[in-house]
Assembly symmetry: C2
Homo-oligomer: 368 residues x 2
DNA sequence: CGCGTCGATGTAATCGATTCCACAAGGAGG
DNA sequence: CCTCCTTGTGGAATCGATTACATCGACGCG
């Protein structure tokens, strides 16, 4: 591998001058610059990022530890994170925790060993000592999607409460009264919040959420299937199952199908997290859509602000209900003429909800 | 950040001894080892991987440049790659090329700058000068899924020819005669091979593949939609559309749905690459499944062999047809009593094909 | 007793960059 | 003409590890 010394020799200057040219330091003569550039080109020289990082103590690399790469929500998040980071001149190393705290720790540790400039995490659990230490030690850090309470780290996330209320209102209007939820792990904030939001929304409609209608899941498909089977075994099964993420919804669909039942005739289904395939499932699935791309971008901006010495801000963006057919009769858009902004009683149409029609099968953009 | 000097001072030994303890060098006294370990623990010392890499000229990191992270096939591939790499003591940095040669080059360049130990690539195009140079310069490299002909780099991939023949046989048996394909970019090997395999299989059945039945796609959903619309506009539209990857199948589904047509009654649909959601689409989609996890693992093993001085082997694994309902009447398993191993004439049952029934909705394991 | 060997340890060179500091040349100003 | 800056440049220290080489004491053996 050719090093800066080779370039210096070839150009007939010192390594200091080569370095200055490469870093656009102002006081270099036009002549020297030209000779160095020529040498760089003729040798095909590329600076060694490892050596540079050692000296400058910055890697221009961000670490991203996500809960599960196989979850399309996180894949999309990862993609937008990488995009924004690249635009700002950073690379991203992704670690997949697979919803396992030990794996999460493994990745945090290796990323820290590599001296990444900052860490983006959606924690799998309530917070390992490792991560808490890193945060306290001053590692630039931002939580995305999920977070750990009581730590002074900015959080970038979506607030699903409004959309969950819209969903419950929608379900209530369709005549559903026995609503169940498949929750995420209690150790995660999203695991707790979505249940809390659901329960609150039910109470506003005068419904309650009995324990047997709370299934315990882990955000993976298999757990969604198990929880749904348990619901179906109840003496009085729920009329609706709301899965707290898209993979558990997939599992729920598996369970329903295995029993030979039909959605929404025998049981309705809704999910948190909207993904492209929900348009084409049988039936299309009503879901709560997060502004995933914007979340990823905002998280990177917050982290880079922190790294570069500016004050980072926490960001909360609203999620939005997308109505499809999995909860019952397909609502005709004309029924929802002008969505109101204020909180609404249960018998009125849902706010901010998008009803998809056959004419607009792919994009979810229509805000009517 | 605490360095090896701090540890040496704390333990009352030299940095050399600390390094020896950390690298399990045999000639260190029990006493010194204990003192060093104690110092490491009390200071919470972690070696700086950047400095270590500079000195040892190895990063224990693999680069993976994939064509599109949003494609579930590649996500799964990335996951298995990371898993196997971790098992072998390597980290993985993923670069997403988004099917764009310029982005692919960007990632290859930054990975090379970071002095990764080896590179795993599924090339987006016929081969940029950058990648060819890297290969010739001796960078350990392995192609996965797609490859570049004429370069001396091991290839790990799936051979879909058998499965495509099974698919065509299956379609022929169902009475379909006008079969169309949405191809991938001609610059990719998978883009070409799948068309070639399809054409060959058609010929064996006495059918041909007119130009108008070859749609040009780019492995992304939008192109699948456009190609399908063009098929539907033909005076004599095809009876079957075979999408060369899962995203283009999604686009095809969009197009069919936008016309108010139904699968498989109005037009049949099949896809290369099997994904979990295909079980739950309306209707479930017949697809060709690659052994994705095994491909990722084999690719990593080949690359690490190359890095560590052993001779790497190219690997080709067979793909397999999974029959669902998107091409017509759901075949009853009893119709396929004993699949034969030898090549079969068109009117006999498909070889190696798995027919999914309602009793077995999730797993595709049954090989009967 | 003296010599060679071996095990444990420290000193210092090294990896490839960046950057502080010294210094030379040249121009401006008194 | 002598200072004083400014500009361009090179030498050398530095980042945090690994490792070749030197050193030193203990021990075995003739």
């Amino acid at each position: 591998m050719t090093s800066i010394k080779d370039v210096a020799a070839e150009a007939g200057v010192s390594v200091a001058t080569v370095s200055r040219v490469l870093n656009e330091h102002p006081s270099v003569s036009e002549d020297a610059r030209a000779r160095v550039l020529a040498a760089v080109a003729s040798l095909g020289y590329r600076p060694n990022a490892v050596a540079r990082s050692l000296r400058t103590d910055q890697t221009r690399t961000l670490g991203l530890v996500i809960s599960d790469v196989l979850n399309p929500y996180f894949t999309e998040l990862a993609r937008s994170v990488e995009e924004e980071a690249r635009a700002l001149g950073y690379s991203v190393i992704i670690g997949n925790a697979d919803e396992r705290p030990d794996l999460q720790d493994h990745h945090v540790r290796t990323l820290l060993d590599r001296r990444i400039d900052g860490l983006l995490v959606s924690p799998t659990d309530g917070g390992s000592p490792l991560m808490l230490d890193a945060a306290r030690a001053g590692t630039p850090m931002v939580f995305v999607d999920r977070w750990i309470p009581g730590v002074d780290v900015p959080v970038v996330r979506a607030d699903g409460r409004g959309a969950v209320r819209d969903l419950v209102t929608h379900l209530h209007r369709l005549g559903h009264r026995r609503l169940a939820i498949i929750a995420g792990p209690a150790a995660t904030t999203t695991g707790q919040e979505r249940v809390a939001a659901f329960r609150e929304a039910l109470e506003e409609c005068g419904l309650d959420l009995p324990d047997q209608y709370i299934g315990q899941g882990d955000f993976q498909a298999a757990s969604g299937r198990r929880a749904t089977e348990r619901f179906l075994d109840l003496a009085e099964p729920p009329q609706v199952v709301f899965a707290a993420d898209n993979l558990m919804a997939l599992g729920a669909l598996d369970a329903v199908r295995a029993r030979g039942l039909r959605v929404p005739d025998d049981i309705a289904l809704a999910a948190f997290d909207d993904i492209r395939w929900f348009v084409h499932t049988d039936p299309p699935i009503t879901a709560i859509a997060q502004p995933t791309g914007e979340l990823g971008r905002a998280a990177v901006r917050a982290l880079v602000d922190r790294i570069e010495g500016r004050a980072p801000r926490s960001v909360t963006l609203p999620a939005r209900l997308v109505v499809r057919r999995s909860c019952g009769e397909n609502p005709v858009p004309s029924e929802n003429p002008v969505p109101s902004e204020s909180p609404v009683p249960c018998e009125t149409p849902a706010t901010n909800a998008t009803a998809e029609t056959n004419e607009n099968p792919v994009t979810n953009r229509s805000q009517s």
